[in-house]
Symmetry: C2
Subunit: 273 residues, 2 copies
């Protein structure tokens, strides 16, 4: 999830490749996360996607870059990546989509759309906005239909208090208290454009947008807002946590189950041309 | 799913038992359906629920009756059953709910609410309305997030045509063409109170209510409406299928994946007292 929003000269595709943007949906359970791991026994979304591209091109190497390197167990309904196919491989949009999906079977990862893009278009560095949704199932009974897809919180949550606390975090801040201690981003400063909490029946939904997020930032904010919803923390405590610039000052990291990357925004969006 | 909407003298609980109504949610994948099977190796919702009640009562037999005997792979967000506990076992509503959920772990079946009911209240025979939702995922890419929970139909569906055809089926009809040949209901006459088709993004949703349904009726209606949505059948063909009173005249049975029992209505609803 850490991402550097500044484009670099080597972001563009070399002339020998044909770059494709892909819109991806996945269920993150059973994966180590987006990023390919050195061990071939650990299943990553990236490894699965590049492996499918490799088979689609009869054994060629097809590297990928994603907009959001989601962690193990985190889901996506609107992830975006680009794939650099060899320039001599000519495929239609439908063939790229259906071919990748065929080779990724039976894993819960699918390409919803594939579009050829210009060499300078980069899934990660051209991204202007990331959107995440965090879902809490707020009821006594554990989830049956949504097991692995929600955070189960039994105690009744005060959504209005959570929304008040969320307002504290919106804007440009040093989010050191809300980023993983292992976060590799150069700066802890981020601008949170939206952080909204609403109830939908038994679910409490947290929606957030920002140009980019720090590692674990959404889950750390969700874990903190849950404490507010339970009445264990007040809004002032969240203000203090933010001001402390110390990971130990904020709430615990919420589990990955509830998190879903719902969309990535681009100035030049290849999927809505 | 076949159900006889007429109350019988032996529906009431004998005086030696304490009857509990339970509201249940489950993911039907991996189950042979609601109904307990003679073989103990086949997992049924009923077997799991009664087994949990048996453990909660330290080995007593706790029989159950359900409002809707769903088939293998069919889901429920609002199933209702009653359980006859021995009268000397006194438990609170929270203990019945949490105790059953504890013993049903880790299976995707949970009791959302448990309420004591009068002996003459019967989950099956007191039911006045059953509601089902059938979900079609209508896009090129197979489902990743909703695998096993939707019917994947690739060709674009004309929802307006489906809705027109649905109107043909609403009302009191002989549904012989839409019931499983193995259906054991005495009469093929049913009154369909609602059958509505709508689009929600990539999903096509069919909602239906009736006092009771015949075996496979919702799936057979969904399979027929899909042919209309694809433009392969017109509304007249659906009229003819209904009039034929012959299972072979209607469309194929849609897969169980898309079907969910969303609610059961009672004159005296124990869950909204």
């Amino acid at each position: 999830m850490p991402d550097t929003p500044v484009s670099r000269p080597d972001d563009a595709a070399p002339p020998s490749v044909c770059r494709w943007a892909v819109l991806i949906e996945y269920d993150g359970r059973g994966f180590v996360g987006w990023q390919r791991q050195p061990s071939e026994t650990l299943l990553s979304i990236q490894g699965l996607l590049e492996g499918a591209a490799n088979r689609l091109t009869a054994g060629r190497t097809v590297p990928s870059i994603t907009a959001g390197r989601t962690d193990a167990g985190v889901h996506a309904s609107g992830q975006v990546a680009h794939l650099d196919f060899p320039a001599d491989v000519t495929l239609s949009s439908a063939t790229v989509r259906d071919g990748l999906n065929f080779y990724m079977k039976p894993h819960p990862v699918v390409v919803l759309m594939a579009r050829p893009v210009l060499p300078q278009w980069n899934a990660r560095f051209s991204a202007r906005m990331r959107s995440y949704r965090y879902r809490i199932l707020n009821r006594a009974a554990r989830p049956a239909l949504d097991e692995g897809r929600v955070w189960h919180v039994k105690s009744p949550l005060d959504v209005e208090a959570m929304q008040q606390a969320a307002r504290v975090l919106v804007g440009r801040h040093d989010f050191t208290s809300f980023r993983a201690t292992a976060c590799q981003a150069r700066s802890p400063i981020r601008t949170l454009d939206q952080l909204e909490v609403r109830r939908e029946g038994e679910a409490v939904i947290i929606e957030t947008h920002a140009r980019s997020f720090l590692h674990h930032q959404v889950r750390n904010m969700a874990g903190t807002l849950k404490l507010v919803g339970e009445g264990r923390w007040d809004v002032e405590r969240v203000e203090q946590a933010l001001a402390a610039r110390d990971r130990r000052a904020a709430g615990p990291t919420a589990p990955p189950d509830g998190l879903c990357l719902t969309g990535v925004g681009y100035e030049d969006n290849p999927f809505i041309r």
